[in-house]
Every structure is written in C-alpha cells, then in structure tokens.
C-alpha cells in the first residue's frame, strides 16, 4: 500500500514543485520507493527540478489515454542518483483536459503495490487539473508564502480539500524573510496559524540556494549546508512525526538596531 500525498497551493509560484522535488528526494534518501507525478499538464516543470528533462519518453497523457495506452512503467523515469525515486512526467503539449481524474486515480491504484509513496504535484488554481491531483490523495500538503494573497488562496484550497474528504492536511510556508518578520512587515508563523489553523511541518526561508538548485536540476534538499535545504530536511523528519524544533533567527539587540541605523552593519 502506498501513501498518496497531493502537494497543492491555490496560488501559483509559491513553491509547490520545488517542495515536491525535495520531498521526493528526501523520502528516497530514507530508502522509500517514491513516484513523483506531475499533474500540471501543459506547464510541466517537475522534470526540470529533478534534472530529468532529457530522459522523458512517454508521459501521463500516453499512459491514461483511452486508445492503446502505454504501460505506466514505460513512462517512469528513474532518478540517476536516488534510485528509488521515479518521475512520472506529464505532457508539455496537450491541454489540461487531456487527462481525466478517474484515469489518474485508476493509475494510482495500479501503482499502489509498487511504491511506498505517490506524490501528486498539483497545478495552481482550483480547476480541472487541481481536481485531478486531489482525487487519488489521502493526505495533502499545502504550500503558501506569507503573503496575504497566497494565504487567502490556501484557505480556499483547504475548504476544497475538506469537501473532497481529505482531512490530513499539513502546511509548508516558503519564502520567509526573517528580517521582514522581525520588523512586522511579514506574517509570522503565529499569524499564519491563527488564520489557517493547519499543522505546519515546514518553514522554508527565502534562499538563493533554491534558485541555484533549480538551475542545476538538483532539488534544494541536496544542498545540505543551505538554510532552505536544512528546512526541507526537517520537513521529512516531521512527516514521520519526529519532534524537530523550528529554526528561530536570533533577534536584533538594541545595539544591532543602532548600528544598522547608522549603516555600520
């Protein structure tokens, strides 16, 4: 039996695919057999984040089409370094309606015995593609930034998941800027918890390492010295119920603030 987790957000550009890639690698590093499915048909990117874009032969549309479908094993792309991690890419050319929710759920049932984890990387929005991604899922991870728009959309998605009967929902907050939080210009984790009331398993700081990781096609969790990499590593631990405290940046003292004011820092 596999655990099926949908990674979704409502708003685009908050780090769904970055999160899916890092969780996929993190689970594979622990020895689990994982398939990461890209459901964002027409705008696929999970292949790039995993560095597997040149090895795609078939995609989700080929596997789920009515006439003469391709066996899913032919479409799976095995990761070179993490050999228990597989990508099931989606199509870059076809539109979102090319894949039906029932077909993807059936496919997940087929893959059930072979994998420990099925990760479903949802597209932004709450349209057809989103519905396709959440239908087979038992658990959900919501990704949001600490921005008013993203948090609002996250709340909307929580409602949609509830209607679909998914009540195991965890939250990952990305692109946190400690300095802005300290100055009161960005939601802190308590604010987000007050607003959404969902258990948080990840606080990912804004980090250039994320862009570098994407450039290289190596998920940021592999950059073990980076702040974002460490934060994703902790996400994996918390997925398994480990009690890991969240990193708290040290607060500026009176003298630090004074020095900053006079441009000495």
């Amino acid at each position: 039996m596999s655990v099926r987790i949908v990674i979704t957000s409502g708003k685009g550009g908050v780090g769904k695919t970055t999160t899916t890639a890092s969780i996929g690698v993190g689970l594979a590093q622990r020895g689990y057999k994982v398939v990461a499915m890209d459901i964002d048909t027409g705008l696929r990117n999970l292949d790039l984040l995993l560095g597997l874009e040149n090895r795609i032969m078939y995609d989700l549309v080929d596997v789920t089409r009515d006439n003469d479908p391709i066996p899913y094993k032919k479409a799976l792309v095995r990761h070179r370094k993490y050999e228990t991690l597989f990508l099931l890419p989606t199509s870059q050319v076809q539109n979102k309606d090319a894949i039906k929710p029932d077909k993807v759920e059936k496919l997940c049932n087929e893959m059930d015995k072979e994998f420990d984890y099925i990760l479903l990387d949802s597209p932004a929005g709450i349209e057809e593609g989103f519905k396709t991604a959440i239908k087979p899922a038992q658990r959900a991870i919501i990704v949001t930034t600490p921005e008013i728009t993203a948090v609002r959309d996250a709340d909307k998605v929580i409602g949609e998941l509830g209607r679909e009967g998914i009540d195991d929902i965890k939250l990952i907050v990305t692109r946190l800027r400690p300095k802005m939080i300290e100055e009161g210009d960005m939601f802190d984790m308590r604010d987000i918890n007050d607003l959404l009331a969902i258990e948080c398993i990840g606080q990912i700081p804004e980090d250039e390492a994320v862009i570098k990781a994407t450039n290289r096609g190596e998920p940021v969790i592999t950059m073990e010295d980076s702040m974002a990499g460490k934060a994703y590593k902790n996400v994996i631990g918390r997925l398994f119920g480990e009690q890991i405290p969240f990193y708290k940046p040290p607060k500026d003292s009176f003298f630090t603030r004074l020095k900053k004011l006079f441009g000495m820092l």
């Binding site: 008013i148 948090v151 609002r152 409602g159 100055e183 009161g184 607003l195 009176f254």
Partner: protein
Amino acid sequence: MLEALMKIFGKSEKPSGKIAKDRLRVVLIHDRASVSPELMERLKNDIIQVISHYMDVKTNGIEISLANDDDSVALVANIPVKSMRHGN
C-alpha cells in the same frame, strides 16, 4: 527622524504585516461563508426595512459586517437610531 528614533527603540507605527492580517481576517470570513458584497447589501436593505417599522434610523450611518467570534461567525450591525416611532 522620529521614525528613525522609534526604530532604535523597536517601536513604530502599525506594521504592514498587522494591516495584512486584519484585512485577511475579514476576507477569510466572507470567503468561508461565501458571502458576496451584493448579498451583504441586500441583507442591509432588508434589515433597514424591518427596523424602520419600529424606529427612525439613520440609513446612511448603518454598518453591517461579519466578524470572528472565537470559532464562530457573528453578524455585527451598528444602526444609529434617530428617534423611536411610538403608537405603532
């Protein structure tokens, strides 16, 4: 300069994060209840109609909103009364 001084002492005017939180609180209540501004306007007009049977109210001073009351939602109405209608 005052703002700079306030910064040193760790105080300043209402931070934008607090403004965002207050705004989002209100928006989420409406989103979750799927209450549109049009519906609120219709509700307001109906309330005015009912209340005017009993008292004279300042129609332009009426404020009606949804607010969070712990874990439930409250309908909060602020209706200024000009005078009571007697003999009805």
